[in-house]
Amino acid sequence: MSKSGVPSQLRWLGALVTPACTQAWTLAQWQTVIRVSRRLRLLGRLAEALDRSGLLASVPEGPRRHLLAEQRYARWRTQQMLWGLERLPQMLGRVDYPLVLLKGAAYLGQDLGIGRGRLPSDIDILVPKAHIEDAQTRLLARGWQETELDAHDQRYYREWSHELPPMRHALHGLELDLHHNILPPVARVHVDASLLLADLRPSLWPGWMVLAPVDQVLHSAAHLFHDSDVRDRVRDLVDIDGLLRHFGQERVFWDALVARARRLGLHQSLALAMHFCSTWLQSPIPRDILERSRVQGLSRPEAVWLIPLFDRVLRPTDPDATPGLRQTWAARTLLLRHHWGRMPVRLLLPHLLHKARARSAASA
Protein backbone atom coordinates (compact mmCIF):
# COMPACT_ATOMS: atom_id res chain seq x y z
CA MET A 1 0.00 0.00 0.00
CA SER A 2 2.70 2.47 -0.90
CA LYS A 3 1.76 5.98 -1.87
CA SER A 4 3.31 7.16 -5.09
CA GLY A 5 4.35 10.69 -5.92
CA VAL A 6 5.08 13.78 -3.91
CA PRO A 7 2.25 14.81 -1.57
CA SER A 8 0.74 18.10 -2.71
CA GLN A 9 1.54 19.66 0.67
CA LEU A 10 5.23 19.01 0.04
CA ARG A 11 5.76 19.95 -3.60
CA TRP A 12 7.29 23.22 -2.49
CA LEU A 13 10.25 21.30 -1.02
CA GLY A 14 11.71 21.34 -4.51
CA ALA A 15 12.50 25.01 -3.85
CA LEU A 16 15.20 23.96 -1.36
CA VAL A 17 17.07 22.33 -4.21
CA THR A 18 15.96 24.64 -7.04
CA PRO A 19 15.08 28.05 -5.52
CA ALA A 20 14.30 29.54 -8.95
CA CYS A 21 10.97 27.66 -9.03
CA THR A 22 9.66 30.14 -6.44
CA GLN A 23 9.53 32.87 -9.05
CA ALA A 24 6.32 31.37 -10.41
CA TRP A 25 4.57 31.29 -7.04
CA THR A 26 1.46 33.35 -6.35
CA LEU A 27 1.01 35.23 -3.09
CA ALA A 28 -1.45 32.59 -1.93
CA GLN A 29 1.13 29.86 -2.56
CA TRP A 30 3.74 31.86 -0.69
CA GLN A 31 1.37 32.22 2.22
CA THR A 32 0.91 28.46 2.51
CA VAL A 33 4.62 27.76 2.12
CA ILE A 34 5.61 30.29 4.79
CA ARG A 35 3.12 28.74 7.22
CA VAL A 36 3.97 25.11 6.50
CA SER A 37 7.72 25.60 6.35
CA ARG A 38 7.69 27.47 9.62
CA ARG A 39 5.86 24.67 11.30
CA LEU A 40 8.30 22.14 9.84
CA ARG A 41 11.26 24.30 10.93
CA LEU A 42 12.35 24.67 7.33
CA LEU A 43 11.61 28.37 6.88
CA GLY A 44 15.18 29.36 7.71
CA ARG A 45 16.49 26.76 5.29
CA LEU A 46 14.31 28.17 2.52
CA ALA A 47 15.51 31.70 3.30
CA GLU A 48 19.16 30.69 3.06
CA ALA A 49 18.56 28.78 -0.20
CA LEU A 50 16.90 31.84 -1.72
CA ASP A 51 19.58 34.16 -0.41
CA ARG A 52 22.40 32.08 -1.85
CA SER A 53 20.70 32.14 -5.23
CA GLY A 54 20.32 35.91 -5.07
CA LEU A 55 16.52 35.58 -5.17
CA LEU A 56 15.55 36.82 -1.72
CA ALA A 57 15.29 40.47 -2.74
CA SER A 58 12.73 39.70 -5.45
CA VAL A 59 10.33 37.80 -3.19
CA PRO A 60 7.07 39.79 -2.60
CA GLU A 61 7.14 41.94 0.51
CA GLY A 62 4.77 39.92 2.69
CA PRO A 63 6.69 36.61 2.56
CA ARG A 64 10.07 38.34 2.21
CA ARG A 65 9.81 39.91 5.66
CA HIS A 66 9.23 36.53 7.23
CA LEU A 67 12.08 34.92 5.32
CA LEU A 68 14.44 37.67 6.44
CA ALA A 69 13.18 37.54 10.00
CA GLU A 70 13.66 33.80 10.21
CA GLN A 71 17.06 33.98 8.54
CA ARG A 72 18.14 36.46 11.17
CA TYR A 73 16.75 34.34 13.98
CA ALA A 74 18.33 31.14 12.65
CA ARG A 75 21.70 32.82 12.23
CA TRP A 76 21.58 34.02 15.79
CA ARG A 77 20.79 30.56 17.14
CA THR A 78 23.45 29.04 14.89
CA GLN A 79 26.03 31.57 16.03
CA GLN A 80 25.30 30.67 19.62
CA MET A 81 26.01 27.05 18.81
CA LEU A 82 29.22 27.91 16.98
CA TRP A 83 30.33 30.01 19.89
CA GLY A 84 29.67 27.18 22.31
CA LEU A 85 31.62 24.82 20.06
CA GLU A 86 34.53 27.24 19.89
CA ARG A 87 34.77 27.48 23.66
CA LEU A 88 34.36 23.77 24.38
CA PRO A 89 37.83 22.47 23.42
CA GLN A 90 39.39 25.27 25.44
CA MET A 91 37.25 24.37 28.42
CA LEU A 92 37.91 20.64 28.07
CA GLY A 93 41.62 21.20 27.76
CA ARG A 94 43.94 18.62 26.31
CA VAL A 95 42.18 15.27 25.96
CA ASP A 96 43.33 12.08 24.26
CA TYR A 97 39.93 10.93 23.08
CA PRO A 98 37.99 12.17 20.06
CA LEU A 99 35.32 14.86 20.23
CA VAL A 100 32.62 14.12 17.67
CA LEU A 101 30.15 16.61 16.22
CA LEU A 102 26.60 15.38 15.71
CA LYS A 103 23.62 16.55 13.63
CA GLY A 104 23.48 20.27 12.81
CA ALA A 105 26.92 20.93 14.26
CA ALA A 106 28.34 18.16 12.08
CA TYR A 107 26.68 19.57 8.97
CA LEU A 108 28.14 22.99 9.64
CA GLY A 109 31.50 21.46 10.43
CA GLN A 110 31.48 19.93 6.95
CA ASP A 111 30.10 23.08 5.34
CA LEU A 112 27.02 21.25 4.05
CA GLY A 113 24.00 23.17 2.76
CA ILE A 114 21.71 21.41 5.22
CA GLY A 115 23.70 23.06 8.00
CA ARG A 116 22.34 26.49 7.11
CA GLY A 117 19.09 28.02 8.31
CA ARG A 118 18.70 25.67 11.24
CA LEU A 119 17.36 26.47 14.69
CA PRO A 120 19.65 24.63 17.07
CA SER A 121 18.26 24.39 20.55
CA ASP A 122 21.27 22.59 21.95
CA ILE A 123 24.78 21.46 21.13
CA ASP A 124 25.13 17.71 20.52
CA ILE A 125 28.51 16.06 20.76
CA LEU A 126 29.66 12.51 21.25
CA VAL A 127 32.60 11.11 23.21
CA PRO A 128 33.53 7.50 23.95
CA LYS A 129 31.57 6.06 26.86
CA ALA A 130 34.74 5.28 28.78
CA HIS A 131 35.64 8.96 28.84
CA ILE A 132 32.26 10.60 29.26
CA GLU A 133 32.61 11.05 33.00
CA ASP A 134 35.98 12.69 32.47
CA ALA A 135 34.56 15.07 29.88
CA GLN A 136 31.74 16.02 32.20
CA THR A 137 34.07 16.57 35.15
CA ARG A 138 36.22 18.92 33.12
CA LEU A 139 33.21 20.91 31.99
CA LEU A 140 31.78 21.15 35.49
CA ALA A 141 35.07 22.67 36.58
CA ARG A 142 34.69 25.39 33.96
CA GLY A 143 31.25 26.55 34.95
CA TRP A 144 28.96 24.09 33.23
CA GLN A 145 26.17 22.81 35.42
CA GLU A 146 24.06 19.69 35.40
CA THR A 147 20.29 19.95 35.17
CA GLU A 148 18.49 19.32 38.43
CA LEU A 149 16.99 15.84 38.21
CA ASP A 150 15.33 13.58 40.71
CA ALA A 151 16.84 10.19 41.51
CA HIS A 152 14.71 8.29 39.00
CA ASP A 153 15.58 10.54 36.10
CA GLN A 154 19.25 10.49 37.06
CA ARG A 155 19.18 6.71 36.87
CA TYR A 156 17.28 6.81 33.62
CA TYR A 157 19.94 8.92 32.01
CA ARG A 158 22.96 7.15 33.40
CA GLU A 159 21.86 3.56 32.91
CA TRP A 160 19.34 3.48 30.14
CA SER A 161 20.09 6.39 27.89
CA HIS A 162 22.72 7.20 25.31
CA GLU A 163 23.29 10.68 26.58
CA LEU A 164 23.87 12.52 29.84
CA PRO A 165 21.33 14.98 31.23
CA PRO A 166 21.69 18.32 29.46
CA MET A 167 24.26 20.73 30.86
CA ARG A 168 23.95 24.50 31.04
CA HIS A 169 26.41 27.33 31.42
CA ALA A 170 25.56 30.73 32.85
CA LEU A 171 27.29 32.52 30.00
CA HIS A 172 26.14 30.34 27.11
CA GLY A 173 22.70 30.35 25.54
CA LEU A 174 22.38 26.71 24.50
CA GLU A 175 22.34 23.46 26.43
CA LEU A 176 25.04 20.87 25.89
CA ASP A 177 24.11 17.24 25.29
CA LEU A 178 26.97 14.80 25.79
CA HIS A 179 26.32 11.53 23.99
CA HIS A 180 28.15 8.25 24.06
CA ASN A 181 25.98 6.54 21.48
CA ILE A 182 23.41 7.44 18.89
CA LEU A 183 20.67 5.25 20.32
CA PRO A 184 19.94 4.15 23.89
CA PRO A 185 21.90 1.06 24.96
CA VAL A 186 18.84 -0.68 26.38
CA ALA A 187 16.87 -0.33 23.18
CA ARG A 188 15.92 -3.45 21.29
CA VAL A 189 18.16 -2.15 18.54
CA HIS A 190 21.56 -1.85 20.11
CA VAL A 191 24.13 0.08 18.15
CA ASP A 192 27.75 -0.76 18.83
CA ALA A 193 29.32 2.65 19.43
CA SER A 194 32.83 1.28 19.04
CA LEU A 195 32.09 0.69 15.37
CA LEU A 196 31.13 4.34 14.98
CA LEU A 197 34.21 5.50 16.81
CA ALA A 198 36.47 3.31 14.69
CA ASP A 199 35.44 5.11 11.52
CA LEU A 200 35.51 8.81 12.40
CA ARG A 201 36.53 11.49 9.90
CA PRO A 202 38.04 14.89 10.54
CA SER A 203 35.73 17.88 10.15
CA LEU A 204 36.78 21.23 8.76
CA TRP A 205 37.33 22.46 12.30
CA PRO A 206 40.56 21.42 14.04
CA GLY A 207 39.92 19.34 17.12
CA TRP A 208 36.49 18.11 16.02
CA MET A 209 35.62 14.85 14.28
CA VAL A 210 32.44 13.70 12.52
CA LEU A 211 30.91 10.28 11.97
CA ALA A 212 31.57 8.52 8.69
CA PRO A 213 29.12 9.67 6.00
CA VAL A 214 27.13 6.42 6.07
CA ASP A 215 26.88 6.70 9.86
CA GLN A 216 25.60 10.25 9.60
CA VAL A 217 22.80 9.05 7.34
CA LEU A 218 21.99 6.16 9.66
CA HIS A 219 22.06 8.40 12.73
CA SER A 220 19.53 10.73 11.17
CA ALA A 221 17.35 7.86 9.98
CA ALA A 222 17.45 6.10 13.35
CA HIS A 223 16.58 9.32 15.09
CA LEU A 224 13.56 9.88 12.96
CA PHE A 225 12.16 6.39 12.80
CA HIS A 226 12.82 5.45 16.41
CA ASP A 227 11.60 8.68 17.90
CA SER A 228 8.49 9.20 19.97
CA ASP A 229 6.80 12.03 18.09
CA VAL A 230 7.18 11.92 14.38
CA ARG A 231 4.72 14.67 13.49
CA ASP A 232 6.12 17.62 11.55
CA ARG A 233 9.48 15.81 11.21
CA VAL A 234 9.80 16.17 7.46
CA ARG A 235 12.91 18.20 8.17
CA ASP A 236 14.76 15.03 9.10
CA LEU A 237 13.90 13.59 5.70
CA VAL A 238 15.26 16.76 4.10
CA ASP A 239 18.48 16.30 6.09
CA ILE A 240 18.83 12.69 4.96
CA ASP A 241 18.12 13.72 1.38
CA GLY A 242 20.82 16.36 1.64
CA LEU A 243 23.33 13.83 2.95
CA LEU A 244 22.45 11.34 0.24
CA ARG A 245 22.83 13.95 -2.49
CA HIS A 246 26.16 15.15 -1.14
CA PHE A 247 27.83 11.84 -0.34
CA GLY A 248 26.06 9.71 -2.93
CA GLN A 249 28.10 10.82 -5.89
CA GLU A 250 30.28 7.74 -5.56
CA ARG A 251 28.71 4.31 -6.05
CA VAL A 252 30.83 2.87 -3.27
CA PHE A 253 28.92 5.03 -0.76
CA TRP A 254 25.63 3.32 -1.53
CA ASP A 255 26.95 -0.22 -1.14
CA ALA A 256 28.65 0.77 2.08
CA LEU A 257 25.44 2.36 3.37
CA VAL A 258 23.35 -0.76 2.91
CA ALA A 259 26.03 -2.98 4.42
CA ARG A 260 26.59 -0.66 7.38
CA ALA A 261 22.87 -0.50 8.12
CA ARG A 262 22.83 -4.27 8.50
CA ARG A 263 26.00 -4.21 10.59
CA LEU A 264 24.65 -1.64 13.04
CA GLY A 265 21.16 -3.12 13.15
CA LEU A 266 19.59 -0.02 11.61
CA HIS A 267 18.38 -1.63 8.40
CA GLN A 268 14.72 -0.99 9.14
CA SER A 269 15.28 2.72 9.71
CA LEU A 270 17.29 2.94 6.51
CA ALA A 271 14.60 1.19 4.49
CA LEU A 272 11.95 3.55 5.80
CA ALA A 273 14.18 6.58 5.19
CA MET A 274 14.93 5.49 1.65
CA HIS A 275 11.27 4.90 0.90
CA PHE A 276 10.18 8.38 1.96
CA CYS A 277 13.19 10.17 0.55
CA SER A 278 12.72 8.63 -2.86
CA THR A 279 8.95 9.05 -3.09
CA TRP A 280 8.59 12.43 -1.40
CA LEU A 281 11.88 14.16 -2.12
CA GLN A 282 12.98 12.31 -5.25
CA SER A 283 16.41 11.66 -3.74
CA PRO A 284 18.68 10.20 -6.42
CA ILE A 285 18.94 6.70 -4.95
CA PRO A 286 20.07 3.96 -7.37
CA ARG A 287 17.15 1.61 -8.00
CA ASP A 288 18.97 -1.54 -7.03
CA ILE A 289 20.06 0.03 -3.76
CA LEU A 290 16.50 1.04 -3.01
CA GLU A 291 15.40 -2.53 -3.62
CA ARG A 292 18.17 -4.11 -1.57
CA SER A 293 17.54 -1.77 1.33
CA ARG A 294 13.82 -2.55 1.28
CA VAL A 295 14.33 -6.29 1.14
CA GLN A 296 16.90 -6.12 3.92
CA GLY A 297 15.03 -3.73 6.14
CA LEU A 298 11.34 -4.52 5.94
CA SER A 299 9.52 -7.82 5.90
CA ARG A 300 6.26 -7.80 3.94
CA PRO A 301 4.07 -7.50 7.05
CA GLU A 302 6.28 -4.69 8.37
CA ALA A 303 6.08 -2.81 5.08
CA VAL A 304 2.31 -3.15 5.01
CA TRP A 305 1.96 -1.89 8.58
CA LEU A 306 4.71 0.66 9.09
CA ILE A 307 4.85 2.58 5.83
CA PRO A 308 1.22 3.77 5.85
CA LEU A 309 1.53 4.64 9.55
CA PHE A 310 4.57 6.81 9.03
CA ASP A 311 3.07 8.25 5.87
CA ARG A 312 0.04 9.38 7.77
CA VAL A 313 1.98 10.93 10.62
CA LEU A 314 4.80 12.51 8.65
CA ARG A 315 2.55 14.11 6.09
CA PRO A 316 1.94 17.68 7.23
CA THR A 317 -1.67 18.75 7.63
CA ASP A 318 -3.06 21.74 5.78
CA PRO A 319 -2.30 24.88 7.79
CA ASP A 320 -5.96 25.64 8.41
CA ALA A 321 -6.95 22.11 9.30
CA THR A 322 -6.64 20.46 12.67
CA PRO A 323 -4.87 17.09 12.64
CA GLY A 324 -7.45 14.46 11.84
CA LEU A 325 -8.41 11.68 14.18
CA ARG A 326 -6.62 9.17 11.97
CA GLN A 327 -3.36 11.06 12.22
CA THR A 328 -3.71 11.29 15.98
CA TRP A 329 -4.28 7.56 16.28
CA ALA A 330 -1.43 6.82 13.93
CA ALA A 331 0.82 9.02 16.05
CA ARG A 332 -0.26 7.19 19.20
CA THR A 333 0.45 3.83 17.64
CA LEU A 334 3.92 4.97 16.73
CA LEU A 335 4.43 6.29 20.25
CA LEU A 336 3.68 2.84 21.59
CA ARG A 337 6.10 1.34 19.10
CA HIS A 338 8.70 3.83 20.25
CA HIS A 339 8.37 2.86 23.87
CA TRP A 340 8.25 -0.83 23.00
CA GLY A 341 11.50 -0.44 21.13
CA ARG A 342 13.11 1.70 23.69
CA MET A 343 13.43 -0.35 26.80
CA PRO A 344 12.67 -3.77 28.25
CA VAL A 345 9.16 -4.05 29.69
CA ARG A 346 10.39 -4.49 33.23
CA LEU A 347 11.97 -1.04 33.01
CA LEU A 348 9.28 0.50 30.82
CA LEU A 349 6.32 0.36 33.18
CA PRO A 350 7.89 2.11 36.20
CA HIS A 351 9.35 4.71 33.82
CA LEU A 352 5.99 5.51 32.24
CA LEU A 353 4.34 5.68 35.64
CA HIS A 354 6.99 8.08 36.81
CA LYS A 355 6.56 10.30 33.77
CA ALA A 356 2.78 10.29 34.21
CA ARG A 357 3.11 11.32 37.83
CA ALA A 358 5.52 14.10 36.92
CA ARG A 359 3.16 15.37 34.24
CA SER A 360 0.15 15.51 36.56
CA ALA A 361 2.24 17.19 39.23
CA ALA A 362 3.33 19.82 36.70
CA SER A 363 -0.22 20.61 35.58
CA ALA A 364 -1.64 20.70 39.12
Binding site: Q79, W83, P89, Q90, A141, A170, L171, G173, P206, G207
Partner: protein, 125 residues
Protein backbone atom coordinates in the same frame (compact mmCIF):
# COMPACT_ATOMS: atom_id res chain seq x y z
CA UNK B 1 18.72 37.35 26.67
CA UNK B 2 21.17 40.15 27.42
CA UNK B 3 24.24 38.97 29.26
CA UNK B 4 25.13 41.58 31.83
CA UNK B 5 27.91 40.94 34.32
CA UNK B 6 26.29 38.48 36.73
CA UNK B 7 27.51 38.05 40.25
CA UNK B 8 28.50 34.47 39.46
CA UNK B 9 31.18 35.56 37.01
CA UNK B 10 33.59 36.32 39.82
CA UNK B 11 32.91 32.88 41.26
CA UNK B 12 33.84 31.32 37.93
CA UNK B 13 37.01 33.32 37.50
CA UNK B 14 38.20 32.39 40.96
CA UNK B 15 37.80 28.69 40.23
CA UNK B 16 39.39 28.61 36.83
CA UNK B 17 43.09 28.94 36.32
CA UNK B 18 43.73 28.48 32.58
CA UNK B 19 43.18 32.15 31.76
CA UNK B 20 46.03 32.97 34.10
CA UNK B 21 48.21 30.50 32.24
CA UNK B 22 51.08 32.55 30.97
CA UNK B 23 51.53 30.42 27.87
CA UNK B 24 48.13 31.60 26.51
CA UNK B 25 47.91 34.47 24.15
CA UNK B 26 44.88 36.51 23.21
CA UNK B 27 43.46 38.46 20.32
CA UNK B 28 40.51 40.79 20.03
CA UNK B 29 37.58 38.80 18.68
CA UNK B 30 36.44 39.67 15.14
CA UNK B 31 33.31 41.78 14.80
CA UNK B 32 33.57 43.46 18.20
CA UNK B 33 31.91 46.86 18.51
CA UNK B 34 32.60 49.08 21.50
CA UNK B 35 30.58 52.24 22.04
CA UNK B 36 30.68 54.91 24.73
CA UNK B 37 27.27 55.89 26.02
CA UNK B 38 28.05 59.08 27.88
CA UNK B 39 29.70 61.90 26.00
CA UNK B 40 32.58 62.08 28.42
CA UNK B 41 33.28 58.34 28.21
CA UNK B 42 33.29 57.88 31.96
CA UNK B 43 32.61 54.35 33.04
CA UNK B 44 29.76 53.69 30.62
CA UNK B 45 30.77 51.55 27.71
CA UNK B 46 28.81 48.89 25.88
CA UNK B 47 30.37 46.19 23.75
CA UNK B 48 28.86 43.81 21.21
CA UNK B 49 30.43 40.51 20.18
CA UNK B 50 29.54 39.07 16.79
CA UNK B 51 31.09 35.80 17.98
CA UNK B 52 28.90 35.19 21.00
CA UNK B 53 26.05 37.45 19.90
CA UNK B 54 26.11 39.00 23.34
CA UNK B 55 26.15 42.58 24.55
CA UNK B 56 28.07 43.54 27.67
CA UNK B 57 28.35 46.57 29.88
CA UNK B 58 32.03 47.04 30.38
CA UNK B 59 34.18 49.37 32.43
CA UNK B 60 37.22 51.35 31.39
CA UNK B 61 39.64 48.53 32.11
CA UNK B 62 37.83 46.12 29.85
CA UNK B 63 37.43 48.72 27.14
CA UNK B 64 41.17 49.34 27.36
CA UNK B 65 41.97 45.62 27.07
CA UNK B 66 39.79 45.24 24.00
CA UNK B 67 41.30 48.33 22.48
CA UNK B 68 44.90 47.29 23.14
CA UNK B 69 44.48 43.79 21.72
CA UNK B 70 44.84 43.21 18.01
CA UNK B 71 42.61 41.00 15.89
CA UNK B 72 45.53 39.33 14.14
CA UNK B 73 48.58 39.46 16.39
CA UNK B 74 48.17 37.62 19.71
CA UNK B 75 49.44 39.16 22.94
CA UNK B 76 49.91 37.76 26.44
CA UNK B 77 48.28 39.06 29.63
CA UNK B 78 51.69 40.18 30.85
CA UNK B 79 52.27 42.38 27.83
CA UNK B 80 48.87 44.05 28.25
CA UNK B 81 49.58 44.65 31.94
CA UNK B 82 52.91 46.23 31.02
CA UNK B 83 51.31 48.52 28.46
CA UNK B 84 48.62 49.71 30.84
CA UNK B 85 51.22 50.28 33.57
CA UNK B 86 53.28 52.23 31.06
CA UNK B 87 50.39 54.43 29.96
CA UNK B 88 48.71 55.05 33.31
CA UNK B 89 51.52 54.82 35.82
CA UNK B 90 49.34 52.61 38.05
CA UNK B 91 51.08 50.01 40.24
CA UNK B 92 51.69 46.66 38.55
CA UNK B 93 49.79 44.64 41.18
CA UNK B 94 46.75 46.86 40.98
CA UNK B 95 46.61 46.58 37.22
CA UNK B 96 46.95 42.80 37.45
CA UNK B 97 44.03 42.68 39.84
CA UNK B 98 41.84 44.84 37.60
CA UNK B 99 42.65 42.66 34.61
CA UNK B 100 42.02 39.38 36.44
CA UNK B 101 38.42 40.45 37.12
CA UNK B 102 37.81 41.49 33.56
CA UNK B 103 39.53 38.70 31.74
CA UNK B 104 37.18 35.77 32.23
CA UNK B 105 34.12 37.79 31.28
CA UNK B 106 35.78 39.13 28.16
CA UNK B 107 36.72 35.57 27.19
CA UNK B 108 33.34 34.00 27.90
CA UNK B 109 31.52 36.91 26.36
CA UNK B 110 33.33 36.59 23.07
CA UNK B 111 35.08 39.96 23.17
CA UNK B 112 38.55 38.44 23.25
CA UNK B 113 39.79 35.13 21.96
CA UNK B 114 42.31 32.75 23.46
CA UNK B 115 45.00 31.41 21.18
CA UNK B 116 46.78 28.70 23.12
CA UNK B 117 50.34 27.63 22.38
CA UNK B 118 49.23 23.97 22.21
CA UNK B 119 47.59 22.78 19.01
CA UNK B 120 44.06 22.66 20.45
CA UNK B 121 42.47 25.54 18.62
CA UNK B 122 38.86 26.57 18.79
CA UNK B 123 36.35 26.04 16.04
CA UNK B 124 36.23 28.66 13.32
CA UNK B 125 32.74 29.58 12.20
Amino acid sequence: MLAVVPVTVNAISSQATPSADRSDRFTRAPGVQVEALAGDGGDEWVAFSALSGETHLINETSAAIVDLLDEEVPASIDSIVDRIVGETGLPHDEVRLLLADAWELLLHGGLIRAVTVTDHHGAAP
